[in-house]
Amino acid sequence: MIETINLAKQFKDVAAVKGISLTVQKGEIFGLLGENGAGKTTTLRMLATMLMPTSGTARVGGFDIIDDSEKVRANIGVLFGSEVGLYDRLTTRENIAYFGQLNGMDKSSINQSVEMLADAFGLSEYLDRKAGKLSKGNKQKTAFARSVVHNPDYMLFDEPTSGLDVTASKEVHVFIKQCKEDGKTIVLSSHHMDEVEKLCDRVAILHRGEIMDIGTIPELIQKYNCDDLEQVFEKLTKGA
């Protein structure tokens, strides 16, 4: 389970996240839906222990992100959306395997995991090429594979499909759904309505650092008397 308790982050004069509380159950895909600057990345960074909350806290798998940050890191896999940085001089395989090693995996389970992920993301033929030579899409898929190579129980994906074409996005969606089947707890951020509609069990609509509402998609559509999620989103964020 992942839960945030009045989680807030203030950057100098910007209140990026204004005390949000939410709970994500095991085996659930939870979506953070919001426009640019809504606070999605900041929230995920706090969950990943990369940023320290200004107030409030969160627990990931029962471990507090402030007091037990090391244990949190031992249980998560994170895709930092805007940061698709790879080691250009290492091969795709070496890039993914490095993170497996750092997360304490042995050689054979790394190999197994790399092959499985390459298969899932259509990266098999690129495994032994230099990451610097990959296309942008393949780089992003490699970064995705790297974030889950150690098969973590908690997965945090910041805009996992931004910049990917339709086929690649589909591969990522299929993979995320499979993770859910395997009992993983997943939080992802997105500004694509259809992605959230397709994937997420529940969604929080985030606007200027605040949660406007949380619920399953049918619940929200019904509650606001709308036709689809997009209308709900408009209603909640544009004050219409």
Binding site: E70, V78, Y87
Partner: protein, 421 residues
């Protein structure tokens, strides 16, 4: 134990990553290996040809009007009987002859007076003209002068002898010079100096290493910290199970190993350069220059080991500073400007020790980072076995670099450093 394991993973990855780059191999190994041989084959070639010319022959120009009798008198009485072959050559224009390197120095003289005076051992004047901008001409002056001094001594001795006196009668006080160590040993004590002195290396090595060692790690330190941040791989790296301290240590030691590889290449290049130009060290080594090609490099095993320890310490200290600067930087570019500042700053301690004599080193100097290690190198090569000074230098360097690494670790936990944008 976990820290060690993860640090090793980071260390291995960084070395592998670094050596995938051909440019890196060129700048870390090939350029250092070739630098000294190239410098000395240009510069050293000139020096040694000038030195050779000097020791073999010197041409002195005399006015065209000088009579052959005077010339042969000068040649036989003054410019003879030494290791150098002098030739006296008639010229019409001293300036032109020196410019054309027809002669090394010019000599103006009153032909008739010089002839008569040498015959009679009477006073006379020789006016030597030289070009201070020419190495050969400048050096020739001292050789010409010592030939003249020898003539003067010879004449004086003959005159004293005629009077029934010796040189000691007119220069009664005699001096003998003894070093403090020789004195201490002569009265039955033990010397502080190990006797393992190597003036050439004591002069050159601290200066060269003081500059080269810090320079050798700049590229790697910039790449591994600022580069990692700029490429957007630092955040994923820090979000793994591996702690920040293992990431820091793995990278830090990878930078140091690359620096050591580079320094080894510099030293190998330096030895090759000396092997190519043995005359470079000959002016420093006591006595003949013919004691084997690398005689100028001979040091004892103990001093050699001490120098290696000090090189390591110097590298660890300067790398720690570079890692701190690189971690602080937003981008590789920003790190680059800090590093170029640092590469100028490291010249200060290196040059500050250049004129320092081993005996002048004080305890407080051993507290100054970088400087203390370079000064210790000077001491070791100067044959000084002052354990207390070395201990202060080593302890204060280790303390200094530990403090810096702790600061870097703090930085890696600080959001304002991780996300400076």
């Amino acid at each position: 134990m976990m820290t060690y394991r993860n640090a090793m993973i980071v260390f291995k990855k960084e070395l592998k990553d670094f050596f995938r780059d051909k440019r890196t191999i060129i700048t870390t190994i090939i350029v250092p290996l070739l630098m000294f041989p190239l410098i000395y084959s240009v510069l050293g070639g000139q020096i040694s040809s000038a030195t050779e010319k000097l020791s073999s022959s010197i041409t002195i120009g005399v006015p065209n009007s000088t009579s052959d009798e005077t010339i042969s008198l000068l040649s036989n009485n003054i410019f003879s009987g030494t290791g150098t072959t002098f030739s006296l050559k008639k010229v019409s224009d001293f300036k032109k002859a020196i410019d054309d390197e027809d002669i090394d120095v010019g000599m103006q003289l009153d032909d008739a007076k010089v002839f008569a005076s040498i015959k009679a051992s009477k006073p006379f004047e020789l006016n030597i003209i030289y070009d201070s901008n020419k190495l050969v001409s400048g050096n020739a002056i001292s050789v010409v002068q010592s030939a003249i001094n020898r003539y003067n001594t010879k004449v004086a001795d003959a005159k004293l002898k005629a009077l029934g006196l010796s040189e000691q009668d007119i220069k009664p006080a005699q001096t003998n010079i003894t070093t403090i160590d020789e004195y201490v040993v002569s009265i039955g004590g033990t010397a502080t100096s190990t006797g393992d002195t190597n003036p050439f290396l004591a002069m050159m090595l601290p200066l060269l290493l003081g500059v080269m060692v810090p320079l050798s790690t700049i590229a790697a330190a910039t790449d591994m910290f600022a580069g990692e941040k700029e490429r957007g791989t630092l955040e994923p790296l820090l979000s793994t199970k591996a702690g920040r301290s293992s990431v820091l240590l793995g990278k830090y030691f990878a930078v140091i190993v690359l620096g050591i590889i580079s320094i080894t290449a510099y030293i190998a290049g330096f030895i090759i350069a000396l092997a190519m130009n043995p005359s470079i060290t000959s002016s420093f080594s006591s006595g003949e220059a013919t004691g084997g090609i690398l005689s100028g490099l001979s040091i004892s095993l103990g001093v050699g080991l001490m120098v290696i320890v000090l090189i390591l310490l110097l590298s660890m200290t300067s790398t720690a500073i570079q890692v701190a600067l690189s971690t602080w930087s937003k981008s590789v570019k920003e790190a680059g400007s800090y590093m170029s500042f640092m590469s100028i700053a490291v010249m200060i301690p290196a040059y500050a020790t250049m004129m320092l004599q081993p005996g002048d080193v004080k305890e407080y100097m051993m507290l100054i980072p970088l400087y203390n290690v370079i000064a210790s190198m000077k001491l070791a090569l100067g044959g000084i076995a002052n354990i207390k000074l070395y201990a202060i230098a080593i302890a204060s360097s280790l303390a200094f670099l530990a403090i810096i690494l702790v600061v870097v670790l703090k930085m890696l936990k600080k959001e304002s450093v991780l996300f400076r944008n």
